[in-house]
Amino acid sequence: MITQVVLTWYQQTWWVGTKEVLILLGFLVAAFTYRRNTVVRAQDVKAGQIQRTFELMRQYPGETRALVLKVTRQLDDVFNALEVLKAQGEGEDVIKQSRTDLLATVDLIELLHRIDPWGFLLKHPEHLFIDEAANTFSSELSRVLLDKRFSADIDQIMQQSSMMGIPELIEVLKKYEALSNRRF
């Protein structure tokens, strides 16, 4: 009796209708789950973005900022020394050679390496809030990276370099410099 019922219930009229309702419900549940998981993933990405930006803003004022300011000061020293040499009537070749020679004593490469990963983050907007990140360091970094006085030597250093974030960083800094100039 029981076996008979079990073997034949799926052929009965009431079950065929219920099955369609169940399938429809299954689709609805699947669609809802997919939508919810998408939202959760988007929230994860956003949380990572917020966390990374916060880390950068918190980490920058310490060692990195000290290094940036140190390099800025050293570059100013180098420029002053070059001015003194120019005032003493040294030729253009001597000035060029001295500039490179004095730049080698500056902590420029260390700074470039420290800030290189930021360029990678800035290239991918889903990793970082670019406005907030750039606002943290742009005012000080553009004095080093966009310095016209030493750009010839930085060109030599960066030619086919493994530091691939720096060009992106410079692009962002140029954009923000243009914005800040336009605002006033």
Partner: protein
């Protein structure tokens, strides 16, 4: 080549440069060696003299490492080629 000693004031820098000039160390080869020593700090290959001079000429013209044109993607190049061929076609038809 020896490591440069730490020069922390402009006076020391000037004295160092004048001393180098007196000993005749201010040459383009030495400059390239200094640049290559800086590049070696980030593990990059040393530049040759020809490359060094080419980069310098570019810098003087205002072409920097970040202003060079980047390699474009396939579809971007295809789009450019189509646009160019369309312009050529239109101008040829206008002439005739």
């Amino acid at each position: 080549m020896q490591e440069p000693f730490k020069l922390d004031t402009p006076e020391k820098m000037v004295a160092h440069i004048l001393q180098m000039k007196a000993t005749g160390q201010l040459t383009e080869e030495n400059r390239l060696a200094t640049i290559n020593r800086m590049r070696a700090q980030s593990g990059d290959r040393p530049l040759t003299m020809a490359e060094h001079l080419a980069i310098e000429a570019d810098s003087n013209k205002g072409i920097h490492f970040y202003t060079r044109t980047k390699p474009q993607s396939f579809f971007r190049r295809l789009q450019t080629a189509l646009k160019r061929s369309r312009d050529v076609f239109v101008s040829a038809m206008r002439k005739s």
